[in-house]
């Protein structure tokens, strides 16, 4: 197959378009649903092309779109239910800011600390290296379901229940980032390292001047993974927070669900759209590190 790919980018494009369309379908469906009125969602059987009805309606009466279609979003953004006291952002805007803060703090913490540790595991020789690394690996293999209660009890002992650090810190020092970056640092050719060593480069210099710049794509990948993961995290913030001012978007969005009524799908989908769009932007910003060919430029510089 790859030899045929060579014959022309047209085939590649065609293949990609077809695949991408199937990948985008649910997102498209989410977007369409988020613009519908509550009664419309189930009004016909789900069709292969779910937007046709909506399009017809918009063409029929363009003003309807601005009234009903944007209703879900304005309803979301106007939502507030926090207690009166306090002066900071409340309601939906607070959920958004909390989510941004959690995601940034966890991502930065993970990338910074685990790149340091990964460098030690990949490039330094010290007694106990293998053993400590296996301890890291081992923690990846235990499901969070059984570590949740011990973690919670630890945080209670520290007096940290319902604090920002309780949400952030346990997600920072996971083995995932360390393991991943170690694997990438391993691919750096030894010759480059030796050359730098001969030039009198210290281990810190090796880390700073060689390992990090040569692993920009890996750092970008870890950042994306960590950011997306912490942006969408639900269970842990739920467990450690007891007031709404600590909620993130995934928690906040469940507040729109009623117990007696069926879920308001359009509103929930509008919420999912609000959740997803920033992630797409982050991804688009991060993915350019996968194309620039940073590696060669950095070494020659």
């Amino acid at each position: 197959m790859p030899s045929r790919i060579k014959s022309g980018p047209l085939v590649v494009y065609g293949l990609l378009v077809l695949l991408a369309a199937s990948m985008l379908f649910p997102f498209y469906w989410m977007a369409i649903t988020s613009l519908k009125g509550k009664a419309d969602v189930f009004s016909t059987e789900p069709k292969l092309i779910p937007g046709r009805q909506l399009a017809e309606r918009v063409v029929d009466d363009p003003r309807w779109f601005f009234h009903s279609g944007t209703d879900n979003y304005s309803q979301l953004l106007a939502w507030q239910r926090l207690v009166e006291s306090g002066s900071g952002p409340r309601g939906f805007s607070r959920f958004v800011l909390n989510t941004v803060f959690f995601a940034l703090a966890i991502t930065l913490g993970q990338v910074i600390t685990s790149s340091l540790a990964a460098f030690a595991f990949a490039r330094l020789r010290f007694p106990g290296r293998k053993q400590i690394f296996f301890a890291y690996l081992a923690t990846l293999m235990i499901p969070a379901t059984v570590t949740m209660i011990p973690s919670y009890i630890l945080l209670r002992e520290l007096g940290w229940v319902n604090t920002y650090q309780a949400v952030i810190l346990p997600s920072v020092f996971t083995a995932y980032g360390t393991f991943m970056l170690r694997q990438f640092f391993l691919t750096i050719p030894r010759e480059i390292e030796d050359a730098a060593r001969i030039d009198g480069c210290s281990p810190l210099g090796l880390y700073w001047r060689i390992a990090l710049p040569l692993s920009t794509p890996a750092l970008a990948a870890l950042s994306i993974v960590a950011f997306v993961g912490s942006w969408r995290t639900f269970m842990w913030p739920l467990i450690v927070s007891s007031t709404e001012d600590l909620f993130n978007l995934p928690l906040g969005l469940t507040l729109f669900r009623g117990m007696y009524t069926d879920p308001d799908w359009p509103l929930l989908m509008a919420g999912s759209m609000v959740m997803t769009l920033p992630l797409i932007l982050v991804f688009i910003a991060g993915q350019r590190y996968f194309v620039e060919g940073i590696r060669l430029g950095a070494v020659k510089g």
Binding site: A39, F42, V100, L108, P213, L238, G258, A298
Partner: protein, 419 residues
């Protein structure tokens, strides 16, 4: 290397911004410092937009009336019992908490304060069957606000189109089945309108889950067999009920949506008539009792409040509990539950706008609630039973094999002394 410098400053900038954001968010938290002399109580409830407003009103009113107390309402937006479990494990459970289907699982483990002596209950003023759901070894471990149960909700217009009279108050299972058949409309091989979408409670067929002392299973019995056979007939013989069972979490086409759209002429559903009134505008509807079988029974659930056994302020917490479940408070919740207080229930039903018009059904059903036995391993037993029902009603397992297997599992769960 200009790139490294640039990304260094970028990272440092983001780091600084993150720290600033964190400090700002932390400083603008709405936590109330316990600087005053008031006793602080934490009240937890499952967050649902309608109920939360009611609870917040109640809490505000309580705080006004009790200047020595400060109650904080904590709305938990999901995975309610998971969160409660973790809090109990850490002994940080809220002082008072809302309870729904998890009551038996928690209360049978001594999670709650015994409040039997805190309530003077005049005989006949409360629905005993509802109070019993909160009694363990004869002691009240909390107090029920009220109950919710499944009745038959039907589309009157579709009944008339099919030339059927509205269901009689004493209709039998066979009459129900015939009605469902007549109400089913096919179009080109596909069903356009289902006669029924839902479930008839096993109790109607005389089925019981456990023996009265809860030591033995009662699963592999003809009553359970006739319960399964009846539903299998509706689904596969008459074709009057869809085979797709609702699955916890999300449904493809939930019963209610099928009903709203006129795709199901009858459904079994609970006390959410408020929502139905809002959703249904283009046809007439009403409610009917669950058809009569070996006995009368309807699936039910209760909601109420309980006090944590680990609360540092038991007296104050009990005061809050008494207020939260008082008849006046129950009447406020009348829109979503039938109060456990008889007089409040009567009044709430009377004040309710129609439809449904056949309100006697609601009060009658309160006398025939059929809750699941309050065994400490209730979740395990329910899971085993639900699994069997799901497999048999999708014909992945025969009723005999399913019940035999389920009974075996029940014996295993009941017999296991090592938890």
């Amino acid at each position: 290397m200009p790139l490294r410098g640039k990304s260094f400053f970028f990272t440092a900038g983001v780091l600084a911004a993150t720290l600033l954001l964190g400090v700002w968010l932390h400083s603008t938290r709405t936590l109330q410092a316990p600087a005053d002399q008031r006793v602080h109580l934490r009240l937890a409830a499952l967050y649902t937009s309608q109920a939360m407003e009611n609870y917040q009103d109640l809490v505000d009113d309580f705080n006004r009336r009790n200047p020595d107390l400060l109650v904080e309402l904590q709305g938990i937006p999901g995975s309610y019992y998971d969160k409660l479990l973790v809090m109990f494990a850490g002994r940080t459970a809220p002082d008072v908490m809302w309870m729904g289907k998890g009551m038996a699982q928690f209360a049978s483990r001594d999670a709650f304060l015994d409040v039997e002596d805190e309530f003077r209950i005049p005989p006949g003023h409360y629905y005993e069957s509802v109070l019993d759901c909160y009694r363990f070894n004869g002691r009240l471990m909390g107090f029920p606000l009220g109950a919710d149960f499944a009745v038959i909700v039907y589309n009157l217009d579709l009944f008339q189109q099919a030339g059927l009279p509205p269901p009689a108050p004493d209709w039998t299972l066979e009459e129900f089945r015939q009605a469902a058949k007549r109400l089913t409309v096919r179009e080109g091989g596909q069903v356009r309108q289902w006669g029924f979408y839902g479930e008839i409670d096993p109790g109607v067929f005389g089925a019981e889950v456990l023996s009265p002392d809860m030591s033995e299973e009662r699963i592999d019995r003809p009553e359970w067999r006739s319960y399964l056979d009846f539903h299998l007939k509706l689904i596969f013989e008459d074709g009057s009920m869809p085979s797709r069972l609702e699955i916890p979490g999300a449904g493809i086409l939930t019963r209610r949506q099928a009903f709203y759209r006129g795709q199901a002429a009858m459904i079994s559903d609970g006390f959410h008539f408020q929502t139905m009134r809002e959703e249904i505008s283009d046809f007439r509807w009403d409610i009917a009792p669950v058809p009569m079988g070996a006995r009368r029974a309807c699936a039910s659930s209760t909601q109420g409040f309980a006090v944590s056994r680990h609360t540092p302020h038991p007296a104050e917490a009990v005061r809050l509990l008494r207020y939260l479940v008082a008849p006046e408070s129950q009447r406020r919740m009348g829109g979503v539950l039938v109060p456990s207080h008889r007089e409040s229930a009567r009044q709430a039903i009377e004040d309710m706008p129609g439809p449904p018009h056949n309100r006697q059904v609601i009060l009658d059903s309160m006398e025939t609630l059929n809750p699941f036995p309050r065994h400490p391993k209730i979740n395990e037993l329910q899971q085993a039973l639900a699994e069997t029902t799901r497999l048999v009603l999708t014909r992945q397992q025969s009723p005999e094999a399913g019940l035999r297997e389920c009974a075996r599992q029940f014996r295993e769960i009941l017999g296991r002394t090592h938890p």
